[in-house]
């Protein structure tokens, strides 16, 4: 129904399999993630949402005993290909975690950290990036007078938005968010949701959430994972009004198991 106005896909997962030793954590995952849209990943604990998210910017590479088969194509190119530079991949595909993890340094340095590692030294340029990123993350007004104070002195919700600003500072194309609002109060949560919806004109957002209402509020597409498999992927309204698979229905209506 939405196939026509769905536009371009930015990432394609093609028969993706991932093993942690004997644990077959992702089983033949194939689907396309639309560009400039918000895609929600839902499913019960342990079904592989975070694992899948991490394969998208190769955060699983360092896990001992991990084996990955199949392909993840980013703009048509296999990110597991030999020629791929992981640092530049992660610049394009940024990640925000469940728990805010600002670096133990000033707010300014948190945001400037990424651009500096990519070689930007000019102070005026950095100032500009810091302000833009903090504005984009909807926290500029709250911190503009204390940029040189430690980021650790901020509230949880503010820290989370600092982390989003930090991810945005390197101008990624894709933002991966793993339960990024699960520890936040409703006000901070709605700020981050608003943010995600605003950002999608420029970024592609992929978010893991356990909050069905959140998936409904913000996402355009929803993927339902179960036991390492992708059960159903489709536009969010269809998934939540008439899912095709009985297991999806059971999960989203809270009648699972």
């Amino acid at each position: 129904m939405c196939e026509n106005n769905r536009g371009k896909n930015i990432i394609r997962s093609n028969k993706l399999n991932l093993y942690y030793g004997d644990n077959h954590a992702l089983k033949d995952i194939s689907f396309d993630i639309p560009e400039n849209r918000i895609t929600a990943l839902i499913g019960p604990s342990g079904c592989g949402k975070s694992t899948f998210l991490k394969t998208l910017n190769r955060m699983n590479d360092l896990v001992p005993g991990v084996k990955i088969e199949g392909q993840v194509l980013y703009k048509g190119e296999d990110i597991y290909g030999k020629a791929v530079d992981v640092t530049s991949l992660r610049k394009q595909i940024g990640m925000v975690f469940q728990k805010a993890n600002p670096f133990p340094m000033s707010i300014y340095d948190n945001i400037a950290y990424g651009p500096r590692t990519h070689g930007i030294r000019n102070r005026a340029h950095l100032d500009e990036i810091v302000e833009r990123s903090l504005r984009d993350a909807a926290i500029w007004d709250e911190v503009k007078d204390r940029l040189n104070k430690s980021a650790l002195g901020l509230s949880g919700g503010q820290q989370q938005r600092i982390c989003i600003a930090r991810a945005l500072a390197v101008e990624p194309e894709v933002l991966l968010m793993d339960e990024s609002t699960s520890a936040l109060d409703p006000i901070s949560t709605s700020k981050i949701e608003e943010l995600a919806m605003e950002l999608k004109s420029r970024y592609t957002v992929i978010m893991v959430t356990h909050n069905m209402q959140q998936a409904l509020r913000v996402s355009d597409y929803t993927a339902f994972f179960l036991l390492g498999e992708l059960v159903e992927f489709g536009d969010t309204q269809t998934i939540f009004s008439k899912p095709a698979d009985k297991r999806t229905e059971a999960y989203i209506t809270g009648r699972f198991g």
């Binding site: 209402q213 939540f240 009004s241 008439k242 209506t253 809270g254 009648r255 198991g257």
Partner: protein, 218 residues
């Protein structure tokens, strides 16, 4: 899983069943009052119609509470939103039964033979109402489709009623006021059939997620 929610959904279903039963009572009584030309029977219809108004508010309350507190999705959401739409039609059926009863009270001089065709029409309409509510309670797609098909029968009856009343008006002008009363009653039964059809369409939505209005606009 979700035992409490499922219990509340069951309560909703019971209320819908009760409301459906009131609907049937209302039009069955109105039809009987008509066929027996009985003012006593007709007088029993308005209280049922008031009870339907009350039930509509009760069910609305349950639905809104469920929407707010349980934030239902998928099949649950469809069932609750279908119920919310259906009660409007059920309440209207009560109003129309009351309108019929009101005419019966003031009607005079009609002969049994003129009323006969309307009785058949009434039976068809009552059947549609019963079946549409049944279809909801059992989430029975086939039964809902049958109701929609049956609407043609009721419409056909109405055409026949109109024709016979026109004949009467032409041949016996002094029967004109009776003919007009009967025409109104026929129109109300025809509307009742339409409401039952609406209910059946919401049952289909509840079961399949497809509503006919969407089909028509596509």
């Amino acid at each position: 899983m979700r035992t409490y929610f499922d219990k509340q959904l069951q309560t909703l279903n019971d209320e819908m069943k009760a409301m459906g039963a009131l609907c049937e009572d209302a039009i069955a009584l109105a039809a009987k009052a008509l066929s027996e030309n009985s003012r006593e029977l007709a007088a029993k219809v308005p209280p049922i119609s008031s009870a339907l108004d009350q039930k509509e508010r009760d069910v609305e309350d349950i639905c809104l509470k469920l929407l707010l507190r349980q934030q239902p999705v998928a099949g649950d959401l469809r069932q609750i939103s279908a119920a919310l739409k259906m009660i409007t039609d059920m309440e209207r059926i009560g109003d129309q039964a009351e309108d019929i009863a009101e005419i019966v009270v003031s009607m005079s001089g009609c002969r049994q033979e003129e009323v006969e065709l309307l009785n058949s029409m009434a039976r068809s309409a009552i059947r549609m109402v019963t079946d549409s509510v049944d279809a909801y309670v059992k989430q029975d797609l086939e039964l809902a489709k049958q109701v929609i098909a049956q609407d043609d029968t009721v419409d056909d009856y109405f055409e026949r009623v109109k024709k016979s009343l026109v004949d009467i008006m032409v041949k016996e002008p002094d029967m004109g006021s009776c003919a007009l009363d009967l025409l109104m009653i026929g129109k109300y039964f025809e509307r009742i059939g339409d409401h039952a059809t609406n209910i059946a369409e919401w049952v289909i939505f509840s079961v399949t997620g497809e509503h006919r209005s969407a089909e028509l606009s596509n």
